[in-house]
Symmetry: C2
Subunit: 208 residues, 2 copies
């Protein structure tokens, strides 16, 4: 049921906002992308701002669902612990690579990230959402995993928060590096692989 005009408007508006920002997009631009005339938009949303707000609400709902499905609610990622416990270095890289490519290529994820990026200094909600998603929650998730790895003896002891920063930051930087520059992707994936390898070697418990 995603083919209705009301949803198409949100999709096309997001595509435009993600490149040109709220002020750079006119309701006529949105209407043209949808294939209708501008006044027709107002049968679905009461204003341009209303379209923007609907995108934000949709984004927040999607993210909440994603967080719930990952059991990433600040407590423990019970499910994912099992996924990671007996993992090899190669498997870990494949997981990280999957997430990396998801954030670089998933249409919706890319557009939302770009819209948050370019609107963050105007709109506090965008700023908060970006930092929650790409910094706070990302670090919290990995910190919790590393805590568990240390507790379970897979990793040597260490500060799980520092480990999260040092593991995640290069992934984030390489993602920014490839954003809008897909020719960097191959090289970045090689760095990513080497990074995961080195991290595993550095912290894996050798006395096991």
């Amino acid at each position: 049921m995603k083919g209705d005009t009301k949803t198409i408007i949100l999709d096309e508006a997001l595509s435009l906002f993600a490149v040109k920002g709220y002020d750079g997009v006119t309701v006529q631009d949105i209407a043209r992308a949808v294939g209708i005339k501008a006044p027709s938009l107002y049968k679905h949303y009461k204003s341009k701002q209303d379209i923007f707000d609907a995108i934000l609400i949709e984004t927040e709902n999607r993210y909440k669902k994603q967080v719930l499905s990952m059991n990433m609610n600040g407590s423990e990622p019970e499910k994912d612990k099992d996924l990671f416990l007996g993992i090899t270095e190669e498997d870990l890289y494949e997981k990280v690579k999957g997430l990396f490519l998801y954030y670089l290529h998933d249409e919706y994820a890319v557009k939302i990230r770009r819209m948050m990026t370019i609107g963050q200094y105007q709109n506090e909600r965008l700023s908060d959402l970006y930092k929650k998603q790409y910094i706070d929650d990302a670090l919290l998730y990995q910190k919790t995993l590393f805590q568990f790895f240390i507790y379970s003896g897979v990793f040597e002891s260490g500060d799980p928060q520092m480990m999260a920063i040092q593991f995640y930051a290069p992934i984030y930087l390489l993602m920014i590096n490839c954003d809008n520059r897909s020719e960097r992707e191959k090289e970045s994936l090689a760095f990513l692989k080497e990074h995961v390898r080195q991290f595993g070697q550095l912290y894996s418990n050798k006395e096991k």
Copy 2:
């Protein structure tokens, strides 16, 4: 000679573009910030676009100068090698902290970074400049330093490109973390310090 209207216009325009983006700022906004009426702007610049272009040219010139002054022209940072050669961990942290706080607090640097950030998907020049400054050149500089550290025996051998990524990425992430959220600064500086310490310990040559 920075008090003339022509320069003030650029300063005020930059302040506005850095928050609201090109399309979010009107020539009246700029004029109001300068303290004149909008039509008077046109005695100094022939269009709004012309103001924006002048900011970009100024930015590019400043950056070129900075690169030259750092001898960061892709060859070797001859000057900085001496600065870093006999350095202690504490000194290295102070240097990194200085740069970190510069990029977070220097008025011009912050505004330019934000303008590049929010304009990057509309304007290829902004995108290129951002990635050159905050990714490519930053990594190149550190890679070159680490190469020299390895060559001179201060560091154990390793891949200097990987070392640059792993050293710089957490600094970059922590900076993004503190951007527009100064309450995170104290904590981030503590992470930064620990990061520099761990990095030094990991790579410093123990057989010296």
